[in-house]
Amino acid sequence: MILIPGRSSKQGTSLNAGKLKEEYQTITSTIEMNESTMNKLGLSTGDRVRLSCSTGKVEVACGKPRKDEDLPDGMIFIPYGPSSSELMESDTAGTGMPMSKQMMVEVERLGAN
């Protein structure tokens, strides 16, 4: 699946409270998928999943499903933070910029929250 880290309002406001605070850490380790994708994977809101790629793996929680028309099938959105960094490759293809969006990851269900 394609992981798209990005900014969100809650990520931005919790950032101001402090990155070491629980709120920021919860927000940056909660993912979004559309309804069809969550159904296909047998996932519900609050379930824990493991995202993994050749760079690393990280455990995150499933947020509320997005409407199918809002987020394409097979795409995961996560607010920027330590979890998305864990999966980021360090190769920058000579630009200085690691591939910070559009990362290919595998999703494994770990169980209900």
Binding site: S9, T13, P72, S85, S90, P98
Partner: protein, 452 residues
């Protein structure tokens, strides 16, 4: 420098100060129309009129931290001792690097450049993991540019590509680009057509008159197709299969772009952080150039941090290059991929690091973080972070724009003066950096390390 406009409140509220025309430095919009209510007893801002949701959090969450000014390996030390140790680390290192700077005023950024010039270090800013690819594209393609004021007063076609300003820059729409009435846009939003191009629906989507959904990783192909159509060339009949956007949609957009009076392309991380990187930005900038054969068209990156644009400006005017600058040979060299911080850390090149108002231990790739943890780190930040927690020397500094004055650059390269709200017991990052610079000067003879 402008005076801070303050109003002391009535006698029954003696410890309340109102600061007018204060500047929010949370994001690159750098809105300078804040009216802050400051509780001087509590040393905190209680109200931030005109601020967006992010700005309110920025002002209301930045009080005075219960934290030492300076620490060495987690132990509280006098400020002077920490500056001694920071200078020693940078002086003894063979490959010291400095990174961050996008949440510091220009005055501090200038001292950081001077330090690296002195120790023959490497200076890079968060631009390299933000619009660094756009910086590369500017050098290759050029930039047809404008201020946000021009956009407000003239733009009748506003296109956002790969960005979600409703969440990242909430006042971009309302203060500069969509809703405000301008000199030649008397009816505000009614006189503009807004297009949003993205891979997903976002909270920005309702603002747009037209949302175009591009397939992930196909921005370059879509931009190149638009360029071809603007130049009167034909394109592949498979364009919808390739990009997810129909030929009819493209034709309509091209006609709209060619026939507007003043068009603007704002672009975000959706272009620079994905496959193609600087090629994506370059294609968009080239599209803006092509469109100038038909009408007036400009392109602007939407910048993230409050003074990341200042960092580009300061490092450019001091060294000739915007980011990723290396002084090892005694003169500045620029090479993204070689002198950019993710690469330097991932390869394990650096043997000391000074991190200014940034948190790479949280947001860098894993390999870079692992190597960062192996070298002595000096951290300057206004809040505890993953990086400050792991730093050998950690300075807690005053928050720019709230506790300190100075200059920042808005995302359209317009310099804006800061109006501080209340004093901080913490030093400014400029004071800390100047202290380190002074010590480094004393450790060296004619700029060189003294013989052992």
């Amino acid at each position: 420098m402008s005076e801070t406009k303050t109003t002391e409140a009535a006698a029954d509220e003696p410890n309340i100060r109102i600061v007018e025309d204060a500047t929010c430095t949370f994001c690159g919009c750098v809105c300078d129309d804040m009216e802050l209510t400051v509780d001087l007893d509590a040393n905190r801002i209680t109200k931030a009129k005109n601020a967006c949701v992010l700005g309110r959090a920025w002002f209301l969450q930045h009080g005075i931290e219960d934290h030492p000014q300076a620490m060495i390996e987690g132990r509280e030390v006098p400020l002077e001792e920490a500056m001694d140790e920071a200078a020693r680390i940078l002086h003894e290192a063979k490959f010291p690097i400095t990174y961050g700077l996008s949440d510091s005023p220009c005055e501090a950024q200038r001292v950081a450049v001077a330090i690296n010039d002195l120790v023959r270090g490497n200076i890079d800013t968060t631009t390299s993991v933000c619009h660094g690819p756009s910086g590369i594209a500017f050098q290759g393609v050029g930039e047809s540019t404008a201020t946000l004021g021009e956009v407000k007063n003239r733009a009748d076609l506003v296109i956002y590509w790969g960005g979600n300003p409703a969440e990242s820059h909430p006042r971009h729409f309302t203060r500069y680009t969509v809703t405000p009435k301008g000199r030649y846009i008397p009816n505000g939003k009614k006189d503009r057509y807004v297009v949003l191009i993205d891979i997903r629906k976002t909270p920005s989507s309702p603002v747009a008159d037209q949302s175009i959904r591009v397939k992930p990783g196909r921005d370059f192909e879509l931009l190149w197709a638009l360029r071809a159509l603007v130049r009167g060339r034909d394109i592949s009949p498979d364009i919808e299969e390739i990009t997810g956007v129909s030929r009819e949609t493209l034709d309509e957009l091209v006609e709209r772009m060619k026939n507007c009076n003043f068009g603007v392309l704002f672009f975000g991380m959706g272009l620079t952080m994905t496959r193609g990187r600087h090629f994506n930005s370059g294609a968009l900038l080239a599209l803006a150039t092509d469109l100038n054969k038909h009408t007036h068209f400009v392109a602007k990156p939407v910048r993230g941090h409050g003074n990341v644009t200042g960092a580009d400006n300061v490092v450019s005017w001091q060294t000739g290059y915007p980011f990723g600058v290396n002084f090892h040979r005694g003169y500045p060299r620029f090479n993204p991929g070689e002198y950019t911080t993710v690469d330097l850390l991932a390869r394990g090149d650096a043997d000391a690091a000074m991190m200014i108002a940034t948190d790479p231990a949280s947001n860098f790739p894993k390999r870079a973080i692992e190597n960062l943890k192996k070298i002595p780190v000096i951290s300057l930040d206004a809040k505890p972070t993953y990086t400050s927690r792991a730093a050998r020397v950690a300075f807690m500094v005053a928050t720019y724009g709230i506790n300190t004055g100075g200059t920042v650059y808005r995302m359209d390269d317009v310099p804006i003066t800061l109006r501080p709200a209340f004093d901080s017991p913490f030093p400014t990052d400029e004071e800390v950096l100047t202290g380190i610079y002074t010590r480094l000067k004393a450790l060296r003879v004619n700029g060189r390390k003294k013989a052992a």
